[in-house]
């Protein structure tokens, strides 16, 4: 170890010990919690995979039947999904299963939330890097266009920009609310 690294180690250790003597963890957590509740920024625990535009989705707790079940083809976000639901494959409606990678290239549509009646922008990302999950196969086509509109077609495998082209399952991530203005 070089003298420079020893110096940095000593400095960090001293600073950490002094902070530990002056402050309590409980005090720190209290202040941190207050700051976060007061904040308007989306922090944790928000699933983020493709970009930073993702914001918390609407509440599904009050939805009736399969419209509120992420493992169902009838789940409201799945109005244009074609593939195996990641919620049935070790992931969730917005997170890939462990060991797979979310494709940054995706196709995007809208689905109406049956609770608030708003149209939400949904990104259908494939999770790539393992063979087909083969559970909860769904084919819904709201807003889908024929294959010659490739960017709006969900028959394609969307594993572009990922290490592997093998598709495992698909997620339906809420990006925002579509408005007319």
């Amino acid at each position: 170890m070089t003298d420079e690294r020893r110096w940095i180690d000593r400095f960090v250790e001293t600073a950490a010990r002094q902070m530990a003597q002056r402050t309590s963890r409980r005090n720190f957590l209290t202040r941190l919690g207050s700051a976060l509740v007061g904040s308007t920024l989306p922090l944790l625990p928000v699933a983020r995979a493709a970009d930073d535009s993702r914001l918390p989705p609407p509440d599904d707790a009050a939805l009736k039947g399969d419209a509120g079940d992420p493992k169902s083809c009838d789940y409201w976000r799945h109005c244009a999904i074609d593939g195996f639901l990641c919620a049935c494959c070790g992931g969730s409606q917005s997170a890939c299963p462990p060991g797979t990678e979310m494709s940054p290239v995706t196709w995007i549509g809208t689905c109406r939330h049956p609770g608030d009646g708003k149209d939400y922008i949904i990104s259908y990302n494939d999770c790539c890097g393992q063979s087909l999950c083969l559970r909860c196969r769904c084919t819904r086509t709201e807003g889908e266009k024929p294959i010659y509109f490739t960017s709006k077609n969900n028959d394609l495998l969307w594993c572009f920009g990922t290490k592997s082209r093998a598709v495992n399952c698909s997620v339906a991530v809420v990006l925002g609310v579509a408005t007319k203005s």
Partner: protein, 137 residues
């Protein structure tokens, strides 16, 4: 205490509503963003970046026309007015630093004229334009 902090964190996240998106921003989200991504970064090897790139095409001959004649724009399922609006939105958002001083926004009539003449060899035209952009520096 730790559990309380987690609850506070979850409450902070849940209190934020999903953002409203409309107009050309919505058209970008639904027709362009899936490939070019929300930040215009594209995906190297698959999809060209818009950010830091798209505005430079307007500085070389043929570049203004190219941005409309590329398949994604010429064949977009948007009418001429909406296409002009989303192109101008893209240029303002991802190319503002690169626009020439005499830039004028696209008009619906210009979109309608150019999209009827789509490119048949996109890669070659793009390569030539990128060479021209590099030479113009």
């Amino acid at each position: 205490m730790r559990g309380a902090a987690v609850v506070l964190l979850a409450a902070a996240a849940a209190s934020v509503a999903a953002a409203d998106v409309g107009g050309p921003a919505l058209d970008y989200a639904l027709n362009c963003q899936g490939c070019h991504r929300a930040d215009g970064a594209g995906t190297p090897g698959s999809v060209p970046a818009l950010a830091g790139s798209v505005g430079k095409f307007l500085r070389v001959p043929g570049g203004r026309e190219y941005l409309i004649r590329v398949p994604g724009v010429a064949q977009a399922p948007l009418d001429d007015a909406a296409t002009a609006a989303v192109l101008n939105w893209i240029l303002a958002r991802f190319g503002n630093d690169d626009l020439p001083a005499d830039f004028s926004p696209y008009t619906p009539a210009e979109i309608g004229r150019l999209r009827r003449d789509p490119l048949t060899d996109v890669e070659r035209v793009r390569r030539d334009l990128l060479d021209a952009i590099a030479r113009s520096k």
